[in-house]
């Protein structure tokens, strides 16, 4: 522990000195640390594979179940039913089956592995700027400011934009924060455990193709298995025929999948998300003048827009390298960016530089001690910053979102999530103070300290570290 402390102290001091004396663009410690890709320090709760090319939610167990079910059912179909049907009827049957199967698999993998449209979190400067604006709007300091919303008129409808406390942005319309993945997702539809990912703007069309093709596949298999049984039962008994076919799985899945496809077809044609439909945002029951401002008016255009519209690129740049002199993320696990933050005079974090300097005197030892509990002493920078101002404030008061149990149909999930969205929006206590306020405020020290910032184990460590601190 002590070694870690002295090391991180040395690290901090070294970086301070190099900032003062010289103005190099390339800094010495850049050579020391290997270049990390942005996905390695992604703040959300996602899993990345293939060096950032594949992105999934944290819990993928049900996704593997989906895969197994599809592979097993199709495997049984091709092994037991197809030979008979190809001989008795036509060899086109296995071919169509094969094509459908490949299409289903392709769209499933595409839905599961792609970025659903995650909005990257605000940079510390942005967050600071927003905080300042909100504070001005609120008319000075309020210990518990009211929930932060912004109203916007879209196509004649008033839409409320909510402030996300985790991502520190005002969510664009139709975006929502997924509590499972801990990300704001554009045009958030729902989090699908069967697919192991959120369904949002960038992968909705793949998801729809997946369930549509899966419906066709299950109906196809079901129909031909029944045909097989009927043809066989002419020869042998009905029960022996039944034994040789994977009917049961098909029977149950047909109705749920077909139902789901039908539901999503309705959603696409009216240009709504599952989220909006469940909340009844645009239902006429809310008011006579309530209508969907995003709808293009006719079904055909809505369908085209959803399925054939341009595919926006991923905003999170998973495979990009982290620039140590221009940090854009303020993630909890990356040691490099904070060093970069204290580095050159042209860094974006100049405000934080000041924060660090002034608060250093107030809390040198405790801050650095805290840092030792996290890797590389990042928290030194972060805690100092949060204490000095909003440059990076650890998200406070976030309720720990429970892991939702996978439900049979995907669209039930957002129901669970809604209950968690509102508590998130309840603004949390002190700690988010504007950078403009005097740096040395002692009460900000406390504010910075008692918050289990997130559900990460890393933060649990830091909390433990803080507890140790207070005992010192």
């Amino acid at each position: 522990m002590h070694l870690g402390v002295s090391e991180s102290m040395r690290e901090c001091e070294y970086s301070q000195i190099s900032t003062r004396s010289s103005t190099p663009m390339e800094t010495p410690y850049k050579k020391r640390t290997p270049k990390k890709r942005k996905w390695e320090s992604f703040p959300g709760r996602n899993k990345f594979y293939c060096n950032g090319r594949i992105m999934m939610a944290k819990q993928t167990g049900v996704f593997y179940l989906t895969l197994v079910l599809i592979l097993a059912t199709c495997g049984l179909f091709f092994t037991f039913d197809c030979p008979f049907l190809a001989l008795q009827l036509t060899p086109v049957i296995p071919v169509i089956g094969g094509v459908l199967f490949l299409f289903v698999l392709g769209t499933l993998l595409r839905t599961s592995f792609s970025d659903p449209g995650v909005l990257p979190r605000a940079t510390p400067d942005e967050a600071a700027d927003l905080e300042r604006q909100i504070d001005v709007a609120n008319g000075g300091t309020g210990y518990r400011p009211p929930p932060r919303t912004k109203e916007v008129e879209i196509n004649g409808q008033t839409v409320k934009l909510k402030y996300c406390f985790t991502c520190k942005i005002f969510r664009p319309p139709r975006a929502s924060h997924c509590s499972l993945c801990d990300n704001c997702v554009e045009r958030f539809d729902h989090h699908c455990p069967w697919v192991g990912n959120c369904v949002g703007r960038r992968n909705y069309r793949f998801f729809y193709m997946f369930i549509l093709s899966l419906s066709f596949l299950t109906i196809f298999i079901f129909a031909f298995v029944i045909t097989h049984i009927i043809l066989r039962s002419h020869r042998s008994g009905f029960l022996t025929a039944l034994k040789e076919s994977p009917v049961v799985v098909c029977f149950f899945s047909v109705w749920s999948i077909v139902g789901l496809s039908g539901f999503h077809t309705y959603l696409i044609s009216s240009n709504q998300t599952t989220n909006e439909d469940i909340k009844g945002s645009w239902s006429s029951k809310r008011g006579k003048d309530n209508y969907n401002p995003y709808s293009y008016g006719n079904i055909f255009t809505n369908c085209c827009a959803a399925l054939c519209g341009p595919l926006p690129p991923s905003l999170i740049d998973r495979r990009g390298f982290i620039q140590s002199d221009a940090p854009q993320l303020a993630p909890p696990t990356n040691g490099i960016t904070m060093y970069g933050a204290t580095q050159s005079q042209q860094s974006h974090m100049c405000d934080q530089d000041q924060c660090i300097q002034s608060t250093k005197f107030v809390l040198q030892a405790p801050v650095i001690l805290t840092a030792s509990t996290e890797n590389g002493g990042i928290l030194a920078g972060r805690t100092a910053l949060s204490l000095g101002g909003p440059c990076t404030s650890l998200p406070l008061g976030q309720p720990t979102p429970p892991t939702s149990t996978p439900s049979l149909s995907c669209h039930e999930d957002p129901m669970a999530h809604h209950h968690f969205l509102t508590p998130e929006e309840v603004p949390s206590p002190p700690g988010m103070l504007p950078c403009g306020s005097p740096m040395g405020h002692s009460h900000t020290v406390q504010a910075g300290f008692y918050n289990p910032a997130s559900q990460d184990s890393l933060h649990e460590d830091s909390v433990r570290g803080l507890v140790k601190l207070s005992s010192v």
């Binding site: 927003l130 664009p172 054939c308 042209q346």
Partner: protein
């Protein structure tokens, strides 16, 4: 003479005084559009018309990227038929326009903003949330 700087010089000599963020304009819906109003912090540095022109051009470019027309329709259908493998060799229309936008911003920075001690950051680097305008305070000026 002290007024004009190249982008490189500025980055090396100047200190960052502050940053201004141009937020998104959602009145057209979820389309990527930015507010054209000149923030008060920039009023001293740049002409209102010039700034609005820049933002309006950016808005038009983004609208072009997200346009649902025959081209995007054909691209979508082709992609679906080839199981989206076509994007391994081809760029999407959106990506092509993003490249155009990057070039445009570079150009604007070189010609208009750098000489005034300002720097526009490509919104794609900020997740298309804001246009970040960095205001530089030149050391040579303050000496």
């Amino acid at each position: 003479m002290a007024e004009t700087h190249s982008l490189q010089d500025m980055r090396q000599q100047a200190t960052v005084a502050s940053k201004v963020f141009i937020q998104r304009d959602y009145t057209q819906g979820t389309m990527c559009q930015f507010q054209t109003k000149l923030p008060s912090d920039l009023e001293a540095r740049i002409d209102k018309q010039q700034f609005e022109e820049t933002v309006r051009t950016l808005n038009n470019l983004y609208a072009e990227a997200e346009k649902i027309g025959s081209q995007s329709f054909i691209e979508g259908c082709l992609a679906c038929l080839t199981a989206y493998t076509v994007f391994l060799c081809m760029e999407t229309h959106y990506e092509k326009v993003l490249k155009k936008i990057a070039k445009f911003i570079q150009e604007q920075n070189d010609k208009i903003y750098a000489p005034r001690g300002l720097l526009l950051t490509d919104p794609i680097e900020r997740g298309l949330r804001v246009i970040e305008v960095t205001i530089f305070e030149d050391r040579s000026l303050t000496r």
